[in-house]
């Protein structure tokens, strides 16, 4: 009988002790995970803080120095840039300087670098995607002579191309293209020096109406969706130097300017639907990466101009 009692006593003591141990382990475990959660939150906040300041700085540089402007209105999206963009080299220098600052001072307390700024690909093409309208704005080489605006969806009903060209233009030819009723192109040639309209080619150049008002020629053309129109402009020198080509195919606007002949282009897409969804304009390439490898935390991202 005494043996049974002793056995029962031992078993109950063991049970109580094991439950105390289990509780202690549970509490230890929960304390560990709580402290990890707090540490993780702190790391995420630090990454977020640095990422926001990086993006804010880069946005400021694009805004002030890139020579590219994006404008969104209730039913249209416009892109304005000078091609060749003479501000490209200054912008690239500023971005490189900012990258150097971020990488030198951002990594000064770490053996392994935590911040890596990858702007080379971005500066090469300066490609941006406008969401949710899927319009790609890109360059063959930023600062070069080739600009492309390419929508992937047929969600617009007009494209307006405004150009401020160098003066002394004497000829405008439209060598090809069939015309329908879907897409409207307005070609505005700035003639701030008030050249005589007869210096320019006549109405047979581009189909549509001409108006002449306050030094501006406005040539309106209507082309069919899916048709290609090529407009070439020449200046008025004896050699008739070629200035630039504009071609439009399925909404894709392709501008090719001769080197050293800058012109300011304003390409606007009039959307079928009003802009009710938030518009995002972000770089197609990632521009930075922040990695805290010891915490298995990392954050990379694209440059967001409008969000």
């Amino acid at each position: 009988m005494a043996k049974v009692k002793a056995l029962m006593y031992t078993i109950s003591t063991a049970l109580i002790l094991s439950s105390i141990l289990s509780f202690a382990f549970l509490i230890y475990d929960s304390a560990q995970s709580s402290s990890h959660v707090v540490l993780d939150m702190s790391i995420i906040d630090k990454m977020d803080d640095m990422s926001s300041s990086l993006l804010f700085g880069m946005n400021k540089l694009v805004d002030f120095k890139s020579g590219i402007k994006f404008i969104t209105e209730p039913q249209r999206i416009s892109f304005i840039e000078e091609v060749n963009n003479t501000r490209a080299s200054g912008f690239n220098d500023s971005m490189t300087e900012f990258k150097r600052l971020v990488e030198v001072y951002g990594n000064e307390d770490f053996i392994e670098p935590v911040i890596n700024v990858t702007i080379d690909g971005f500066m090469e093409n300066m490609s941006f995607l406008v969401s949710p309208y899927d319009i790609l704005y890109t360059h063959q080489r930023y600062g070069g002579s080739h600009l492309v605006v390419q929508p992937s969806l047929n969600n617009f009903n007009a494209i307006t191309i405004n150009m401020n060209t160098p003066d002394n233009i004497s000829e405008c030819i439209c060598p090809g293209g069939s015309f329908g009723n879907d897409i409207n192109i307005k070609l505005i040639i700035d003639d701030s020096d008030n050249h005589d309209i007869n210096d320019y080619v006549g109405g047979s150049c581009c189909p549509g109406a001409y108006t002449y008002d306050y030094g501006l020629y406005v040539i309106e053309s209507t082309i069919g969706y899916g048709d290609e129109v090529t407009i070439q402009l020449w200046n008025g020198t004896a050699s008739k130097q070629h200035l630039f080509d504009i071609s439009v195919l399925s909404g894709k606007v392709d501008v090719q300017v001769q080197e050293g002949m800058p012109a300011i282009f304003n390409i606007t897409y009039d959307l079928i639907v009003p802009i009710t969804d938030p518009v995002t304009i972000e770089s197609t390439e990632s521009v930075y990466n922040i990695t805290y490898s010891q915490f298995l935390a990392s954050k990379g991202g694209k440059l967001k101009l409008i969000e």
Binding site: Y9, S12, I16, S19, I20, F23, A24, I27, S30, A31, S34, S35, V38, M41, S42, D45, K46, D49, M50, S52, S53, L54, F56, G57, K60, L61, F64, K65, S94, E97, F98, L101, V102, Y105, G106
Partner: protein, 145 residues
Amino acid sequence: MERKASWNFQSTKKKAMIFMIDALVGIVLAVIILTFANLYVTRATRDALPSVQLERVSGDIVRMLEYDGTLSSGDVDTIQSRLLEILPQEINMTLQIEYLSSPVLDLNIPIPSRELVVSGRQFIIISDGDDVTDYAVVRYWAWPR
């Protein structure tokens, strides 16, 4: 004989009760210990949370100073007075701004050694209107007042 059996039964009952009370006291003690341990853990976690909040608020304050152009002024007094204007009453903060092409600007507010202090850094563009004039890194330290 019957009396002896009754005495034995009462004695066994008494022993069982003592054993029960003993076990209960043990359990109560264990529960008390575990509760205190848990409270300590909870409090330790709760104490760590304000540091995250402090980090967020101080980061936002530096961003505000950049956004409204105060950091571009490069003047200690302007930065300090604006900082005092926007700083919540519960927080104290100091900044050091290292410009790429100007001397380091330090607010020189002593950082307490026995308090919880959070720190961070942000990279900023110094501009004058639409013109970019310099680049800087802002280091900041914040602690509860």
